[in-house]
Symmetry: C2
Subunit: 321 residues, 2 copies
Amino acid sequence: MNDQEHPAPTAPTASSTRVGVIGLGAMGLGMARSLRAAGFSVGVHDLRAEVAAEFARDGGTAYASGGDLAAEVDVLVGVVVNAAQVEAVLFGDGEGTGGAAERLRPGSVYVMCSTVDPAFSAALEKRLAASGIRYLDAPISGGAARAASGELTMMTSGGPEAYALAGPVLDAMSAAVYRLGDSAGLGSKVKIVNQLLAGVHIAAAAEAMAFGIRSGVPAEALYEVITHSAGNSWMFENRMAHVLAGDYTPLSAVDIFVKDLGLVLDAARPETFPLPLSATAHQMFLQASASGLGGEDDSAVIKIFPGVELPAAKTAPQEEN
Amino acid sequence: MNDQEHPAPTAPTASSTRVGVIGLGAMGLGMARSLRAAGFSVGVHDLRAEVAAEFARDGGTAYASGGDLAAEVDVLVGVVVNAAQVEAVLFGDGEGTGGAAERLRPGSVYVMCSTVDPAFSAALEKRLAASGIRYLDAPISGGAARAASGELTMMTSGGPEAYALAGPVLDAMSAAVYRLGDSAGLGSKVKIVNQLLAGVHIAAAAEAMAFGIRSGVPAEALYEVITHSAGNSWMFENRMAHVLAGDYTPLSAVDIFVKDLGLVLDAARPETFPLPLSATAHQMFLQASASGLGGEDDSAVIKIFPGVELPAAKTAPQEEN
């Protein structure tokens, strides 16, 4: 790649920006692959060393220590599950993962992709700024398939210097990068609102589908009509397909929404703001988890409704019409 | 039109089937116009005689009496608000509207487009069958704009003789006619499930948007991100556009969902079936109605959330960017 081909020769490019990804779950692994496919030099770390090694077999570098990775990169993308894990990655003293904040060089950027309380994200920007580290609040939406194809939606906010360095990194992972302002926390606020809707819509889809089946409407017909009517939602269409297939293999688990709707409610309480539907949906996911369904796909929240004959698993789909 | 052009020469055609429409609200008027545009001979009746006369100015016939209209048609399409009005149209003894069941000829079809309790619809089929009148359970979805363009979704069930005569009439009004089975009530059951989702989604959209705005996210940005993320729903996209515009002119009023979610809950109670989100959303619409918002657009349910600075009405849109 030739700098002279670029309209802004000093802008960071895939060849010059070293990127690290910490956390190689379904989302992080797809994002690391998208970055590698876009031409970035990608280092990775995961507590499961074999997952990092497997990634590096096709290019990039696996690090046994998150701190060592942090010391080598311009942009560190954190794709861990929650605020506690973000805390551990940056400030923890654990073996392997931990201590990245100490090792990141001044001027480098931490891209925070987890779903966290917006107040935590805003505070994190300030804590990292004390060491000269820049910060982007950058939660993601879209699921594992879109992470793998570099077509995520990112809800971001942060200062212009952080965007100047990390912007091409975000673009390589995403179909749409929303820049919501220069105040860290705005990205997380929008993500929280998205999770509120996603969680309520999954629970509502389950309530509606369970009631329809119990009333004697064939599940396939119900799905067909609703997905072509005003009652449709992105989540109804996506998750009720799992129910029709009788397949509760977790793409995203019940316990993720126990956590995320809990986070929504936690974020609203200090503002004394009522969220009646979120609270109700949270109780439904809690009931599912308490019934032993926490590790199943989140569509399994439909199993809390008694007396409903759900579609059976299609074990031999190739033999069916 | 020449019968020989048709694959099934004995099938009813627009030219041979006389159609009546009772109830010329936003939906019924659009449907009557679609039927007229498709070449049907259309008679209409509404308690507001001037609305019927206005329709007939461009073709078709206005009837001052619903009974007189019923006596003249092969297919009578009822587009009234609720079960009580269906009862009044068919069996009432009111002046003008009322008594249609007595005047419909044996072999004619009543097409029931209202949102009603499925048990009411199933019973209605039997009551009309006693007089030799056929019946289609045929609730509609899609809104006034799609009614006017003949692009409704219809959720129908009923016997084959009813479909044989009324099928072309349904097709002329709809982009999609779902035939859910030969048992009246199935169409209404699917409609009830659709209304459950539609009502919960409007209330969830309001809760999410109110919380986001209160948290400091600009309303326009929130709308843009959510409509491109997994938290989207048909209702969020449609109704929150009204909130952004600050325009609560009722396209469908808060009180419609006070009624429809009430109907959903009423239909579930005899089956001892819990609907936690529907019950919560119903309370939100009740609170809105009790606050004096019953006649506003259903998106006005967002006004139950205190301390939220909603977008102001755009009074001079032509001067804005």
